[in-house]
């Protein structure tokens, strides 16, 4: 009854897109650039490269910042009102719509920092957007390390940092990597802020200061401006396969982690 409906509706969409898109997928699709204009000719090679650069740059910024902040919140922070404010702030940041980050990114990174409509602006904007999620998943991973591990380490005379570095972090690593992968997934799925901050050119980026389209943004342009519905569906299919792969990777890691912790220890 309702339950089946609930799952099947989004599932229907996934299947629909993949079915519609599959015919258009071939080697050319991946290796040629979009021809621009109205025809929707060409493929998505430049878009894929732009997306890769974007995700890479975003992770480079988000991961260290996120893990560092999470380490502080999980291990060092005491339960004061100051810490509460930081936590509330992180949570609020997580809910802000992507387009508002786009506004902010446009003002700060594109204009004030003079980075222009570029992949770098896009990745910095995404970093602001994804930071709360990185912090959350890292903190969760760290909190799931049993207290006994920590206490044993401290009892042996380690400083807090030594304990974190050699006991907590390695144990929390699979969870942290899951968080990184989720961040990558979030970056790929984003469209609104990138639409504003990266410009709309569909060309191969020469440097990170060039603008471009990510896969998600490209879908929007294809649907809006061309009648290449098959290409749009195909891009959508590629995007979803990517998300699927990331999701499976996270599951595999979690399963591995549980097997390792459960079995050997």
């Amino acid at each position: 009854m309702m339950g089946i409906c609930g799952v099947s509706l989004p599932l229907f969409i996934v299947i629909y897109v993949i079915a519609q898109g599959l015919p258009a997928i071939n080697w050319d699709f991946f290796t040629s650039e979009p021809a621009g204009g109205l025809s929707g000719d060409g493929g998505i090679s430049s878009v894929i490269i732009t997306t890769l650069w974007l995700v890479g740059a975003t992770l480079v910024v988000t991961v260290p910042l996120g893990i560092g902040a999470a380490i502080y919140l999980a291990e060092y922070a005491r339960d004061t009102w100051r810490t509460e404010i930081v936590r509330r702030g992180v949570e609020l940041l997580a809910g802000i719509p992507s387009i508002v980050f786009g506004l902010f990114g446009l003002a700060i990174f594109v204009q004030v920092f003079d980075l222009g409509l570029s992949i770098i602006s896009g990745s910095l904007t995404l970093a602001c957007l994804l930071l709360p999620f990185m912090i959350r998943s890292t903190e969760e991973a760290m909190r799931s390390v049993p207290r006994s591990h920590r206490e044993a380490s401290l009892a042996l005379g380690a400083t807090r940092w030594q304990m974190v570095r050699s006991v907590v972090l390695p144990s929390a690593l699979p969870g942290i990597i899951t968080g990184i992968i989720l961040c990558a997934g979030g970056a790929v799925a984003e469209s609104a802020c990138l639409y504003v901050v990266m410009g709309g050119s569909a060309e191969m980026p020469g440097t990170p200061l060039d603008g471009g389209r990510s896969l998600a943004v490209h879908i929007f342009y294809l649907i809006n401006e061309t009648n290449a519905l098959d290409k749009a569906m195909a891009t959508g299919a590629v995007l979803m396969v990517f998300v699927l792969v990331l999701n499976i990777a996270t599951r595999f890691l979690s399963w591995q982690y549980r097997a390792r912790v459960g079995g050997k220890k």
Partner: protein, 299 residues
């Protein structure tokens, strides 16, 4: 010279503290910027910002139609999504045989990560023509299309979190109820759902937040008409779509009003966030210790 490990410890602590406050700093910066840029709009236009007419080239900057557009589309979305999600969550948690649930649950979690442009795309290609035929008017771009697309988009999120909440209800409650002679449905309705209430409310709030913040899919299916929708088949415009469509060419007061739209969105999210905190009060552990909410992103 040997650097004491305690020194390292303290240095590291301060580095980490700096990184943690960076997050807060970003939030504060965003809030400051938004309100700083939006302020001139409120100052110059006063309450006329909440007028009906949006025609920047003729100096009319009323965003009320956009506010209504956002509210109507998200309300419709909730109307469709909430019963379906809770039903689905119940199904997965209570009714489904374990093998089915084991497959379906990860599937639902996977669906949370689907980019919203994909939903918008299917909305334009598949849904809008159907709505155009049914309504006999227009192109199918309507608040109905927007509501349905949003509903499908937030279904996985709301289902996933509600289901977690339902499964977290102690078995004892269910057993006690059944032992007292209640039927399965009586148990679900009078015991399980109320017990999982805070999770369900939090799930709905999260879904609502995502719906309010949705931009690209809205631009594709709602028609971008700055008018009050008088029927569900009318086209409208959301605050988010307004910002995205106009920011590239807006300067001066026009741009300030777009920031004001951003400020409004910020306030809405702040309000939702507060509601969410209230809903979670009394629950043990941090609101995000579930981990599921890490995947519910808006685009």
């Amino acid at each position: 010279m040997h650097i004491s490990r305690h020194f390292v410890d303290r240095v590291v602590k301060h580095i980490m503290l700096a990184l943690a406050t960076l997050s807060l700093l970003i939030l504060v910066l965003i809030a400051l910027y938004i309100f700083r840029e939006a302020w001139p709009a409120f100052k110059e236009l006063g309450l006329s910002v909440f007028d009906d007419k949006w025609y920047p080239s003729r100096e009319a900057y009323g965003i009320m139609t956009m506010i209504v557009g956002t509210i109507v589309s998200t309300t419709l979305a909730l109307f469709f999504a909430v019963p379906l999600s809770i039903g689905c969550a119940l199904f997965l948690a209570e009714v489904a045989p374990p093998q089915v649930a084991q497959v379906a649950r990860p599937a639902v979690e996977l669906l949370v990560g689907i980019p919203s442009v994909v939903y918008g795309m299917v909305g334009v290609v598949f849904l809008s023509p159907i709505i155009a035929d049914i309504s006999g008017q227009g192109s199918g771009s309507s608040v109905l299309a927007a509501g349905i697309v949003l509903a499908i988009m937030i279904l996985p999120t709301v289902t996933s979190i509600s289901e977690d909440g339902l499964r977290a209800v102690p078995r004892a409650y269910k057993d006690a109820s059944l032992a007292l002679g209640a039927t399965r449905w009586q148990t679900i309705w009078h015991v399980l759902l109320p017990a999982a209430r805070s999770s369900i409310v939090a799930a709905v709030i999260l879904g609502l937040g995502r719906a309010i913040g949705e931009t690209m899919a809205m631009m594709m299916v709602i028609g971008n008409s700055p008018q009050f929708p008088h029927s569900i088949f009318d086209s409208a415009r959301t605050l988010t779509g307004n910002i995205a469509a106009e920011i590239a060419h807006a300067t001066g007061l026009h741009a300030d009003v777009l920031w004001a739209c951003g400020a409004l969105l910020f306030i809405m999210v702040l309000g939702l966030n507060t509601l969410g905190i209230l809903a979670y009060r009394g629950k043990i552990g941090l609101p995000w210790s579930r981990g599921k909410s890490a995947k519910g992103r808006v685009s």
